[in-house]
């Protein structure tokens, strides 16, 4: 095993340049002098604020998945769908690959990400490391770019405009829940979750 010195040094992931870590001022972002990548940023959100954000996102996520997204009308007939309606429709229409892609990037991975964050932050709030902290943090890292709710919102907008030519389109509450979710994701995008590694947390009992 290598010897570690977490508190003093910092290595740019994008070019391998070594820096001595320093305390950042409010709102400050440290950038690599060689490749200009972001090294670290000041943590604007406290653990409590992050937890509140995640809980809100979880509530909105449930609504986004339960409520219909859009309703189409044609000669007195109506048709609406939820996210799971989309997943099942693609499965039935011989596009199982797409069905699985939609289910993972819009349902399972976002759900997993929020659950993990909720779990880890809940314990961090009490100054403790959650049970399973290390493997869960690694899973969180690996989830990386595979949650795509914000792309889906734009996709819904495009679908609405396309359908508008032929049908009466009504936007349903689900789409607003998705829009709210996107807003929360955007706020959370600026959070560097690696700070949880550095927090001085007591090991899980």
């Amino acid at each position: 095993m290598g010897k570690a010195f977490p508190e003093k040094l910092l290595i740019c992931e994008h070019c391998d340049t070594v820096y001595r870590r320093r305390v950042l001022e409010r709102g400050e972002v440290a950038r690599c002098a060689l490749c200009a990548a972001e090294l670290e940023r000041y943590h604007l959100l406290s653990v409590n604020a992050m937890l509140a954000l995640i809980l809100t996102a979880a509530i909105v996520f449930v609504q986004a998945n339960l409520w219909p997204i859009v309703t189409l009308g044609l000669s007195g007939q109506h048709s609406s769908t939820t996210l799971w309606g989309v997943i099942l429709a693609m499965w039935r229409e011989h596009s199982q690959v797409v069905s699985v892609l939609v289910a993972t990037t819009l349902f399972f991975f976002p759900l997993l990400k929020m659950s993990l964050l909720g779990w880890l932050l809940w314990f961090a709030r009490g100054g403790r490391r959650a049970p399973g902290f290390v493997p869960l943090m690694v899973i969180l890292h690996r989830l990386g770019p595979w949650t795509m709710s914000e792309v889906f919102v734009l996709g819904a907008l495009v679908a609405i405009v396309k359908a508008h030519t032929y049908f009466d389109v009504t936007a349903d509450p689900g789409i607003y829940a998705y829009a709210a979710l996107t807003l929360l994701i955007t706020i959370f995008a600026g959070v560097d979750l690696r700070q949880l590694w550095d927090e001085d947390l007591e090991p899980a009992a």
């Binding site: 290598g2 994008h14 997204i69 048709s79 429709a89 690959v97 892609l101 396309k162 690696r194």
Partner: protein, 217 residues
């Protein structure tokens, strides 16, 4: 150019998962990222420590070529069929953009065009340029290449847009004989293209841009 210290020169190694800085134990010459005997684990998160992502060039090329092979049918084959009482219409990615433009939403048409055509093509070109220049150890425009890589990483997944549009319309437009939307194989190829290009950009190691000959000394 000032001599900023690089991790390899100082005998340090950064964990790519948790960011911890570790010192190489002596005799770690094999920690060269070639996948052989790379057994040193991060003391904090237990992930394997490597100087560089393993086989970065070979993997990225393989994934990029596979993605390109998927991208051809994704564009040639129709992605969606719209059927009404007396009309069947098969849409490709491009015809979908044109239709959106005609439907009076040039802004959205530009967004879809960007996500479905510009971004994938940019990814193919950008990653090819990054691979060739890094393999040659070129010192050309390193900062711009590093920024290009980060741009590709940032925007890559937005290409999934058209896949979601087809999926949503399939689920929505269900008016038996009056009007139906069905997905066609092009959309599967397009989904696979996006996934493969995402894996390709993830397997490229941006630190390779800065390795090799120091031609800017």
């Amino acid at each position: 150019m000032s001599a900023l210290p690089r991790a390899a020169e100082l005998g340090l190694i950064a964990c790519t998962v948790c960011g911890l800085v570790c010192r190489n134990v002596p005799g770690d010459a094999q920690l060269d990222g070639d996948g052989v005997d790379d057994a040193m684990a991060c003391p904090r998160c237990a992930s394997t420590l490597r100087r560089r992502k393993p086989d970065s060039f070979a993997r990225t090329w393989a994934l990029l070529i596979a993605a390109f092979l998927m991208y051809i049918p994704a564009n040639v084959l129709p992605i969606m069929r719209t059927a009404s009482l007396n009309d069947i219409d098969d849409n490709t990615i491009i015809s979908g953009v044109v239709e959106l433009w005609r439907a009076g939403s040039p802004n959205l048409a530009v967004i879809v065009f960007t996500a479905s055509i510009v971004v994938p093509v940019l990814k193919f070109l950008a990653l090819s340029v990054l691979l060739v220049s890094s393999q040659r150890g070129s010192g050309w425009a390193r900062l711009q290449r590093a920024k290009l890589y980060r741009l590709v990483e940032l925007i890559g997944y937005w290409s999934m847009l058209d896949v979601f549009v087809v999926a949503l319309l399939t689920a929505l437009v269900r008016f038996s004989v009056l009007s139906l939307v069905e997905p066609l194989p092009g959309v599967i190829f397009f989904g696979l293209t996006v996934v493969l290009t995402m894996f390709a950009s993830m397997s490229f190691d941006p630190r390779l841009i800065w390795d090799g000959k120091d031609s800017d000394d």
